[in-house]
Symmetry: C2
Subunit: 206 residues, 2 copies
Protein backbone atom coordinates (compact mmCIF):
# COMPACT_ATOMS: atom_id res chain seq x y z
CA UNK A 1 0.00 0.00 0.00
CA UNK A 2 1.26 3.44 -0.89
CA UNK A 3 0.71 6.35 1.44
CA UNK A 4 0.54 9.67 -0.31
CA UNK A 5 2.21 12.23 1.91
CA UNK A 6 0.49 15.56 1.94
CA UNK A 7 2.94 18.33 2.77
CA UNK A 8 0.13 20.87 2.65
CA UNK A 9 -1.53 21.34 6.00
CA UNK A 10 -4.79 22.41 4.39
CA UNK A 11 -7.72 20.30 3.40
CA UNK A 12 -6.94 19.10 -0.11
CA UNK A 13 -10.62 18.70 -0.96
CA UNK A 14 -10.97 22.43 -1.32
CA UNK A 15 -11.08 22.83 -5.04
CA UNK A 16 -8.91 25.89 -5.31
CA UNK A 17 -6.03 24.11 -3.64
CA UNK A 18 -6.20 21.22 -6.07
CA UNK A 19 -6.29 23.55 -9.05
CA UNK A 20 -3.44 25.59 -7.64
CA UNK A 21 -1.22 22.56 -7.10
CA UNK A 22 -1.97 21.12 -10.51
CA UNK A 23 -1.31 24.40 -12.27
CA UNK A 24 1.88 25.04 -10.35
CA UNK A 25 3.05 21.62 -11.36
CA UNK A 26 2.36 22.46 -15.01
CA UNK A 27 4.23 25.72 -14.67
CA UNK A 28 7.25 24.19 -12.96
CA UNK A 29 7.52 21.42 -15.47
CA UNK A 30 7.43 23.84 -18.38
CA UNK A 31 4.21 22.63 -19.98
CA UNK A 32 3.20 26.25 -20.51
CA UNK A 33 5.15 28.80 -22.51
CA UNK A 34 6.32 32.08 -21.05
CA UNK A 35 3.82 34.91 -21.62
CA UNK A 36 1.13 32.45 -22.60
CA UNK A 37 -2.30 33.71 -21.48
CA UNK A 38 -4.30 31.51 -19.10
CA UNK A 39 -8.04 31.36 -19.74
CA UNK A 40 -10.39 30.88 -16.83
CA UNK A 41 -13.11 29.06 -18.75
CA UNK A 42 -10.73 26.42 -20.10
CA UNK A 43 -9.41 25.63 -16.65
CA UNK A 44 -12.94 25.51 -15.23
CA UNK A 45 -13.81 22.87 -17.81
CA UNK A 46 -10.59 20.95 -17.20
CA UNK A 47 -11.22 20.72 -13.47
CA UNK A 48 -14.97 20.39 -13.73
CA UNK A 49 -15.76 23.48 -11.66
CA UNK A 50 -17.02 26.98 -12.21
CA UNK A 51 -14.74 29.97 -12.74
CA UNK A 52 -14.83 31.02 -9.09
CA UNK A 53 -12.31 28.54 -7.67
CA UNK A 54 -10.22 28.91 -10.83
CA UNK A 55 -9.93 32.63 -10.23
CA UNK A 56 -8.88 31.96 -6.65
CA UNK A 57 -6.12 29.65 -7.80
CA UNK A 58 -4.91 32.05 -10.50
CA UNK A 59 -4.80 34.92 -8.06
CA UNK A 60 -2.75 32.83 -5.71
CA UNK A 61 -0.24 31.80 -8.37
CA UNK A 62 -0.06 35.43 -9.41
CA UNK A 63 0.95 36.43 -5.93
CA UNK A 64 3.48 33.61 -5.84
CA UNK A 65 4.99 35.14 -8.93
CA UNK A 66 4.37 32.36 -11.43
CA UNK A 67 1.68 34.31 -13.26
CA UNK A 68 1.22 37.99 -13.95
CA UNK A 69 -2.12 39.78 -13.85
CA UNK A 70 -3.39 42.67 -15.93
CA UNK A 71 -6.73 44.34 -15.27
CA UNK A 72 -9.50 43.14 -17.57
CA UNK A 73 -7.06 40.92 -19.41
CA UNK A 74 -6.57 38.10 -16.98
CA UNK A 75 -3.31 36.37 -16.23
CA UNK A 76 -0.45 35.01 -18.31
CA UNK A 77 2.66 33.01 -17.56
CA UNK A 78 5.36 35.32 -16.25
CA UNK A 79 8.36 36.21 -18.36
CA UNK A 80 11.59 34.57 -17.22
CA UNK A 81 13.88 36.16 -14.66
CA UNK A 82 16.99 37.84 -15.98
CA UNK A 83 20.28 36.30 -14.86
CA UNK A 84 20.74 39.28 -12.58
CA UNK A 85 17.36 38.83 -10.93
CA UNK A 86 17.91 35.13 -10.63
CA UNK A 87 21.17 35.54 -8.75
CA UNK A 88 19.51 37.92 -6.29
CA UNK A 89 16.66 35.49 -5.76
CA UNK A 90 19.04 32.57 -5.39
CA UNK A 91 20.97 34.43 -2.70
CA UNK A 92 17.77 35.14 -0.79
CA UNK A 93 16.60 31.59 -1.11
CA UNK A 94 19.92 30.23 0.07
CA UNK A 95 20.05 32.40 3.18
CA UNK A 96 16.47 31.49 4.02
CA UNK A 97 17.05 27.82 3.49
CA UNK A 98 20.30 27.75 5.43
CA UNK A 99 18.54 29.20 8.42
CA UNK A 100 15.72 26.69 8.17
CA UNK A 101 17.95 23.69 7.57
CA UNK A 102 20.17 24.37 10.56
CA UNK A 103 17.14 24.89 12.75
CA UNK A 104 15.57 21.73 11.35
CA UNK A 105 18.66 19.67 12.15
CA UNK A 106 18.62 20.87 15.75
CA UNK A 107 14.98 19.88 16.28
CA UNK A 108 14.89 16.74 14.12
CA UNK A 109 12.45 14.02 15.20
CA UNK A 110 12.32 10.33 14.39
CA UNK A 111 9.53 10.82 11.84
CA UNK A 112 11.67 13.37 10.04
CA UNK A 113 14.26 10.70 9.30
CA UNK A 114 11.66 8.50 7.63
CA UNK A 115 10.22 11.42 5.73
CA UNK A 116 13.59 12.61 4.46
CA UNK A 117 14.52 9.10 3.37
CA UNK A 118 11.23 8.75 1.56
CA UNK A 119 11.51 12.13 -0.19
CA UNK A 120 15.10 11.43 -1.25
CA UNK A 121 14.12 8.06 -2.65
CA UNK A 122 11.27 9.61 -4.59
CA UNK A 123 13.68 12.16 -6.04
CA UNK A 124 16.18 9.46 -6.97
CA UNK A 125 13.52 7.46 -8.75
CA UNK A 126 12.35 10.52 -10.65
CA UNK A 127 15.94 11.21 -11.72
CA UNK A 128 16.33 7.65 -12.95
CA UNK A 129 13.14 7.93 -14.94
CA UNK A 130 14.57 11.21 -16.26
CA UNK A 131 11.18 12.90 -16.21
CA UNK A 132 11.62 16.63 -15.85
CA UNK A 133 8.26 17.37 -14.20
CA UNK A 134 8.82 14.62 -11.66
CA UNK A 135 12.35 15.69 -10.85
CA UNK A 136 11.42 19.33 -10.41
CA UNK A 137 8.54 18.48 -8.11
CA UNK A 138 10.48 16.00 -5.98
CA UNK A 139 13.37 18.41 -5.73
CA UNK A 140 11.07 21.14 -4.43
CA UNK A 141 9.22 18.76 -2.12
CA UNK A 142 12.45 17.75 -0.38
CA UNK A 143 13.66 21.30 0.16
CA UNK A 144 10.19 22.37 1.18
CA UNK A 145 10.08 19.76 3.89
CA UNK A 146 12.84 21.18 6.04
CA UNK A 147 11.73 24.73 5.40
CA UNK A 148 8.16 23.93 6.44
CA UNK A 149 9.30 22.08 9.56
CA UNK A 150 11.42 25.05 10.61
CA UNK A 151 8.84 27.80 10.07
CA UNK A 152 5.49 28.01 8.36
CA UNK A 153 5.97 31.76 8.06
CA UNK A 154 9.07 31.25 6.00
CA UNK A 155 7.55 28.40 4.00
CA UNK A 156 5.30 30.63 1.91
CA UNK A 157 8.13 33.01 1.18
CA UNK A 158 10.38 30.14 0.19
CA UNK A 159 7.74 28.84 -2.17
CA UNK A 160 7.54 32.12 -4.03
CA UNK A 161 11.29 32.30 -4.48
CA UNK A 162 11.65 28.68 -5.51
CA UNK A 163 8.82 28.59 -8.01
CA UNK A 164 10.29 31.55 -9.85
CA UNK A 165 13.76 30.07 -9.88
CA UNK A 166 12.71 26.67 -11.06
CA UNK A 167 10.45 28.07 -13.75
CA UNK A 168 13.46 29.69 -15.30
CA UNK A 169 15.94 26.88 -15.11
CA UNK A 170 14.05 23.62 -15.10
CA UNK A 171 13.87 24.02 -18.83
CA UNK A 172 17.64 24.07 -19.19
CA UNK A 173 19.22 22.21 -16.30
CA UNK A 174 20.51 18.71 -16.67
CA UNK A 175 19.36 16.71 -13.69
CA UNK A 176 21.73 13.78 -13.99
CA UNK A 177 23.49 14.43 -10.71
CA UNK A 178 20.65 16.12 -8.86
CA UNK A 179 20.06 12.91 -6.96
CA UNK A 180 23.71 12.73 -5.90
CA UNK A 181 23.74 16.33 -4.72
CA UNK A 182 20.71 15.75 -2.55
CA UNK A 183 21.99 12.46 -1.24
CA UNK A 184 25.02 14.32 0.13
CA UNK A 185 22.82 16.93 1.80
CA UNK A 186 20.46 14.40 3.36
CA UNK A 187 23.32 12.26 4.62
CA UNK A 188 24.87 15.26 6.34
CA UNK A 189 21.50 16.13 7.84
CA UNK A 190 21.01 12.63 9.19
CA UNK A 191 24.49 12.82 10.73
CA UNK A 192 23.37 16.12 12.27
CA UNK A 193 26.43 17.76 10.75
CA UNK A 194 25.11 21.29 10.27
CA UNK A 195 28.22 22.73 8.67
CA UNK A 196 28.50 19.99 6.08
CA UNK A 197 24.80 20.12 5.30
CA UNK A 198 24.88 23.87 4.74
CA UNK A 199 27.95 23.52 2.53
CA UNK A 200 26.31 20.98 0.24
CA UNK A 201 23.11 23.01 0.26
CA UNK A 202 25.09 26.01 -0.93
CA UNK A 203 26.43 23.95 -3.81
CA UNK A 204 22.96 22.78 -4.76
CA UNK A 205 21.07 26.07 -4.59
CA UNK A 206 22.98 27.91 -7.26
Amino acid sequence: MVWVINTQAHNPKVTRNAICEALRSDLISGKLDFDQPIREQKLAERFGTSRGPVRDALLRLTQEGALVYEANKGVRVISPLTDEERSVVAGMRLSLEKHCLSKFIKNMKKEDVHELTFLLERLTTACERASLPGVAECDLALHRYWVAQASSHLETMWLGLSVRMIMKYSRLTKYEDIAAEHKRIVEAVLEKDVEKALFYLGENVI
Copy 2:
Protein backbone atom coordinates in the same frame (compact mmCIF):
# COMPACT_ATOMS: atom_id res chain seq x y z
CA MET B 1 -3.44 71.21 -7.76
CA VAL B 2 -2.20 67.96 -6.29
CA TRP B 3 -1.33 65.03 -8.47
CA VAL B 4 -1.87 61.72 -6.78
CA ILE B 5 0.90 59.43 -7.89
CA ASN B 6 -0.19 55.88 -8.50
CA THR B 7 2.69 53.48 -8.00
CA GLN B 8 0.46 50.59 -9.02
CA ALA B 9 0.53 50.01 -12.75
CA HIS B 10 -2.92 48.41 -12.67
CA ASN B 11 -6.26 50.05 -13.08
CA PRO B 12 -7.26 51.19 -9.61
CA LYS B 13 -10.94 50.99 -10.48
CA VAL B 14 -10.83 47.24 -10.21
CA THR B 15 -12.53 46.68 -6.91
CA ARG B 16 -10.29 43.97 -5.60
CA ASN B 17 -7.24 46.22 -5.85
CA ALA B 18 -8.91 48.97 -3.87
CA ILE B 19 -9.97 46.53 -1.17
CA CYS B 20 -6.53 44.99 -1.07
CA GLU B 21 -4.76 48.33 -0.66
CA ALA B 22 -7.18 49.52 2.00
CA LEU B 23 -6.91 46.32 3.98
CA ARG B 24 -3.13 46.21 3.71
CA SER B 25 -3.06 49.73 5.03
CA ASP B 26 -5.18 48.67 8.00
CA LEU B 27 -2.90 45.73 8.65
CA ILE B 28 0.30 47.76 8.44
CA SER B 29 -1.00 50.43 10.70
CA GLY B 30 -2.03 47.93 13.33
CA LYS B 31 -5.77 48.60 13.28
CA LEU B 32 -6.35 44.86 13.42
CA ASP B 33 -5.15 42.55 16.17
CA PHE B 34 -2.98 39.52 15.50
CA ASP B 35 -5.04 36.34 14.99
CA GLN B 36 -8.21 38.35 14.58
CA PRO B 37 -10.54 36.63 12.08
CA ILE B 38 -11.54 38.60 8.98
CA ARG B 39 -15.15 38.19 7.87
CA GLU B 40 -16.00 38.43 4.20
CA GLN B 41 -19.52 39.77 4.65
CA LYS B 42 -18.44 42.69 6.81
CA LEU B 43 -15.84 43.77 4.30
CA ALA B 44 -18.32 43.42 1.46
CA GLU B 45 -20.63 45.81 3.27
CA ARG B 46 -17.80 48.20 4.12
CA PHE B 47 -16.71 48.46 0.49
CA GLY B 48 -20.19 48.21 -0.99
CA THR B 49 -19.51 45.14 -3.09
CA SER B 50 -20.35 41.48 -3.03
CA ARG B 51 -18.13 38.83 -1.44
CA GLY B 52 -16.41 37.90 -4.69
CA PRO B 53 -13.93 40.78 -4.91
CA VAL B 54 -13.44 40.62 -1.15
CA ARG B 55 -12.38 36.99 -1.43
CA ASP B 56 -9.96 37.93 -4.18
CA ALA B 57 -8.36 40.57 -2.00
CA LEU B 58 -8.15 38.29 1.04
CA LEU B 59 -6.54 35.54 -0.99
CA ARG B 60 -3.98 37.99 -2.24
CA LEU B 61 -3.11 39.29 1.22
CA THR B 62 -2.89 35.68 2.37
CA GLN B 63 -0.28 34.96 -0.26
CA GLU B 64 1.57 38.14 0.70
CA GLY B 65 1.72 36.73 4.18
CA ALA B 66 -0.34 39.32 6.04
CA LEU B 67 -3.25 36.90 6.53
CA VAL B 68 -3.43 33.18 7.08
CA TYR B 69 -6.07 30.94 5.57
CA GLU B 70 -7.70 27.81 6.95
CA ALA B 71 -10.10 25.69 4.94
CA ASN B 72 -13.75 26.41 5.68
CA LYS B 73 -12.75 28.88 8.34
CA GLY B 74 -11.65 31.84 6.29
CA VAL B 75 -8.67 34.04 7.04
CA ARG B 76 -7.29 35.74 10.12
CA VAL B 77 -4.50 38.19 10.76
CA ILE B 78 -1.20 36.35 10.88
CA SER B 79 0.62 35.83 14.15
CA PRO B 80 3.74 37.98 14.51
CA LEU B 81 7.14 36.86 13.30
CA THR B 82 9.54 35.61 15.93
CA ASP B 83 12.70 37.66 16.36
CA GLU B 84 14.59 34.87 14.64
CA GLU B 85 12.29 34.87 11.62
CA ARG B 86 12.35 38.63 11.49
CA SER B 87 16.11 38.78 11.28
CA VAL B 88 16.12 36.28 8.42
CA VAL B 89 13.49 38.27 6.58
CA ALA B 90 15.32 41.53 7.23
CA GLY B 91 18.49 40.08 5.74
CA MET B 92 16.65 38.97 2.63
CA ARG B 93 14.94 42.29 2.27
CA LEU B 94 18.19 44.16 2.65
CA SER B 95 20.03 42.17 0.02
CA LEU B 96 17.12 42.54 -2.38
CA GLU B 97 16.83 46.24 -1.77
CA LYS B 98 20.56 46.86 -2.04
CA HIS B 99 20.58 45.26 -5.45
CA CYS B 100 17.60 47.32 -6.60
CA LEU B 101 18.85 50.58 -5.16
CA SER B 102 22.26 50.37 -6.80
CA LYS B 103 20.64 49.47 -10.10
CA PHE B 104 18.18 52.31 -9.68
CA ILE B 105 20.93 54.85 -9.07
CA LYS B 106 22.69 53.78 -12.26
CA ASN B 107 19.58 54.23 -14.41
CA MET B 108 18.08 57.23 -12.65
CA LYS B 109 16.00 59.61 -14.81
CA LYS B 110 14.97 63.19 -14.26
CA GLU B 111 11.43 62.19 -13.24
CA ASP B 112 12.90 59.95 -10.57
CA VAL B 113 14.44 62.95 -8.85
CA HIS B 114 11.08 64.66 -8.61
CA GLU B 115 9.40 61.51 -7.45
CA LEU B 116 11.96 60.78 -4.75
CA THR B 117 11.76 64.34 -3.49
CA PHE B 118 7.99 64.12 -3.37
CA LEU B 119 7.97 60.79 -1.55
CA LEU B 120 10.54 61.97 0.97
CA GLU B 121 8.56 65.10 1.67
CA ARG B 122 5.41 63.06 2.17
CA LEU B 123 7.25 60.86 4.65
CA THR B 124 8.63 63.88 6.49
CA THR B 125 5.18 65.39 6.81
CA ALA B 126 3.76 62.12 8.11
CA CYS B 127 6.54 61.94 10.70
CA GLU B 128 5.81 65.47 11.84
CA ARG B 129 2.14 64.64 12.18
CA ALA B 130 3.30 61.58 14.13
CA SER B 131 0.58 59.40 12.64
CA LEU B 132 1.69 55.80 12.63
CA PRO B 133 -0.41 54.62 9.68
CA GLY B 134 0.81 57.49 7.54
CA VAL B 135 4.46 57.01 8.47
CA ALA B 136 4.37 53.28 7.78
CA GLU B 137 2.73 53.79 4.40
CA CYS B 138 5.03 56.60 3.29
CA ASP B 139 8.06 54.65 4.44
CA LEU B 140 7.01 51.65 2.36
CA ALA B 141 6.08 53.81 -0.62
CA LEU B 142 9.54 55.35 -0.76
CA HIS B 143 11.38 52.05 -0.58
CA ARG B 144 8.95 50.50 -3.00
CA TYR B 145 9.68 53.16 -5.56
CA TRP B 146 13.28 52.25 -6.19
CA VAL B 147 12.56 48.55 -5.99
CA ALA B 148 9.77 48.85 -8.56
CA GLN B 149 11.89 50.94 -10.89
CA ALA B 150 14.67 48.37 -10.77
CA SER B 151 12.58 45.24 -11.36
CA SER B 152 8.88 44.47 -11.33
CA HIS B 153 9.73 40.83 -10.71
CA LEU B 154 11.45 41.74 -7.49
CA GLU B 155 8.80 44.25 -6.49
CA THR B 156 6.18 41.66 -5.55
CA MET B 157 8.73 39.68 -3.53
CA TRP B 158 9.83 42.81 -1.75
CA LEU B 159 6.24 43.65 -0.88
CA GLY B 160 5.73 40.29 0.81
CA LEU B 161 8.86 40.66 2.89
CA SER B 162 8.17 44.25 3.85
CA VAL B 163 4.55 43.82 4.82
CA ARG B 164 5.47 41.04 7.23
CA MET B 165 8.27 43.03 8.76
CA ILE B 166 6.31 46.20 9.23
CA MET B 167 3.32 44.37 10.68
CA LYS B 168 5.53 43.17 13.46
CA TYR B 169 7.38 46.32 14.34
CA SER B 170 5.28 49.26 13.33
CA ARG B 171 3.45 48.76 16.60
CA LEU B 172 6.56 49.28 18.65
CA THR B 173 9.02 51.42 16.71
CA LYS B 174 9.46 55.06 17.48
CA TYR B 175 9.54 56.96 14.22
CA GLU B 176 11.00 60.20 15.43
CA ASP B 177 14.12 59.95 13.33
CA ILE B 178 12.72 57.91 10.47
CA ALA B 179 12.57 61.06 8.38
CA ALA B 180 16.23 61.82 9.04
CA GLU B 181 17.31 58.30 8.13
CA HIS B 182 15.54 58.50 4.82
CA LYS B 183 16.77 61.99 4.12
CA ARG B 184 20.32 60.65 4.30
CA ILE B 185 19.51 57.81 1.93
CA VAL B 186 17.77 59.99 -0.62
CA GLU B 187 20.53 62.60 -0.54
CA ALA B 188 23.12 59.93 -1.26
CA VAL B 189 20.96 58.60 -4.09
CA LEU B 190 20.61 62.05 -5.64
CA GLU B 191 24.39 62.44 -5.44
CA LYS B 192 24.62 59.06 -7.19
CA ASP B 193 26.86 57.86 -4.39
CA VAL B 194 26.02 54.16 -4.44
CA GLU B 195 28.25 53.17 -1.57
CA LYS B 196 26.92 55.80 0.78
CA ALA B 197 23.31 55.08 -0.18
CA LEU B 198 23.72 51.37 0.50
CA PHE B 199 25.37 52.11 3.83
CA TYR B 200 22.51 54.28 5.05
CA LEU B 201 20.01 51.80 3.66
CA GLY B 202 21.66 49.08 5.72
CA GLU B 203 21.24 51.21 8.83
CA ASN B 204 17.58 51.82 8.06
CA VAL B 205 16.50 48.29 7.20
CA ILE B 206 17.23 46.70 10.53
